[in-house]
């Protein structure tokens, strides 16, 4: 009675389940372990917020690049050598100003422009952020340390399709004239998600 057998078995641990899938795929000759090694490297060392920080820094120092970035994000980041998965057909760059705070989320899962701004942090994927940020954005941002004055308009962007978003944070006035490299160092992932200002 296979069904009874299933009832009495305890649930395998996450490590056991991952090992099982990886080993079973390897045995099918699909070379999963090799693929995992390569993708783990991409996810941890290549697709990092440093990419987005370079994009932001360039946009701050080069007004023509900034225009191209706002008009067609995907083409503009390619100029700097950054690529996006084929299914991300569009990158929309959202410009923050003194009076506008853009913030991105994905209420249905946890989509992001991960090759550009890095894989999403834990809180972005949590049920709390996903449920609340669209409905009580000002309170949520305040809990995260961003206390906006009432005159700042909040625009929340829910990533429901494969169009991807990144926020172009406002350049801190004291950094005008800095080199592009130095500027890139101050740009954080959270500022490109839109839950922090610089």
């Amino acid at each position: 009675m296979p069904d009874q057998d299933r009832v009495v078995k305890s649930t395998a641990s996450m490590e056991q389940r991952v090992d099982a899938i990886q080993a079973a795929l390897d045995e099918r000759g699909l070379e999963a372990s090799k693929g995992v090694e390569e993708l783990a490297h991409l996810a941890q060392d290549v697709w990092t917020p440093k990419n987005g920080a370079r994009v932001v820094a360039r946009a701050w120092v080069d007004p023509e690049f900034r225009k191209r970035l706002l008009a067609n994000g995907r083409a503009a980041v390619e100029e700097l050598g950054f690529t996006m998965p084929k299914h991300h057909r569009h990158l929309v760059v959202l410009e923050n100003t003194a009076k506008v705070q853009n913030v991105i989320c994905c209420t249905l899962c946890s989509c992001t422009a991960f090759t550009i701004i890095g894989l999403p942090p834990d809180w972005y994927k949590d049920l709390e952020y996903r449920s609340r940020v669209v409905r009580e954005s000002r309170t949520v941002l305040k809990e995260m340390g961003l206390d906006l004055t009432p005159d700042v308009e909040i625009r929340v962007w829910d990533t429901t399709a494969d169009t991807r978003y990144m926020v172009l944070p406002e350049q801190p006035p004291e950094t005008v004239g800095w080199s592009e490299e130095r500027l890139a160092d101050i740009v954080t992932r959270d500022s490109m998600i839109g839950v922090a200002r610089l």
Binding site: A40, Q44, H87, D158, A161
Partner: protein, 206 residues
């Protein structure tokens, strides 16, 4: 489907677990779970809509209790079993215990028969539409009116693409809603932008 995954606007959840420089991964198995699903997509075993839908099909109690990467791995395993790449018995034997999978899928659907083109500035309404398969229309915009801000390139239609149904690619519209319209008297003022597939939209009444 009106699933547990459709979190936007649900009430009762507590404070955000926020730390500066929060990590994407907290354990080695999470890195591998993420890489394995990406690997399967790369091999063309399933597409992103199928992947998302297999997460949505998890039993709601399992969905809520599972971590992000447990959901990811559950979707991967479900699709590998459904597509006949691996068998459930084999992965449970290897794992040394039960391996919870997602529930079966409903049937998909093709694009809406009549689709309209919209231009920036047009007022649109999200159709009052209930569909038991995969859809990228969050429940909180159903029946609500907003303004078209821009149009994206055409994408595979998720309601078809997650189910192996033939369909045309169609554009999504960036539609701007007012939070006060989405949750009257029960939200904080903000503009909420949602990428809405053409099939989900109709022209708003005058």
């Amino acid at each position: 489907m009106d699933g547990m995954h459709d979190m936007g606007g649900r009430q009762g959840f507590g404070p955000i677990r926020f730390t500066h420089d929060a990590k994407a991964f907290h354990a080695e198995w999470e890195v591998r779970a993420n890489s394995l699903y990406a690997f399967a997509v790369r091999l063309g075993i399933f597409n992103m809509d199928e992947y998302r839908h297999a997460i949505e099909r998890m039993d709601p109690r399992h969905y809520l209790a599972a971590s992000y990467y447990e959901r990811s791995l559950t979707s991967l395993a479900t699709l590998l079993v459904e597509k006949g790449v691996l068998s459930r018995d084999d992965i449970e034997r290897r794992a040394g215990g039960s391996f919870p999978l997602a529930r079966p899928s409903a049937a998909g659907r093709a694009n809406a028969p009549h689709r309209e083109h919209f231009a920036p500035g047009d007022r649109v309404r999200v159709k009052e539409d209930h569909f038991p398969g995969h859809t990228r229309m969050p429940g909180y915009i159903r029946g609500k009116c907003g303004v078209v801000v821009s149009e994206s390139p055409a994408y595979p239609f998720p309601d078809a693409h997650a189910h192996g149904v033939e369909a045309q690619d169609e554009p999504t519209y960036d539609v701007r809603f007012r939070s006060e319209d989405l949750w009257p008297n029960s939200s904080e003022p903000a503009l909420v932008h949602v990428g809405v597939f053409q099939s989900y939209l109709e022209r708003a009444p005058e």
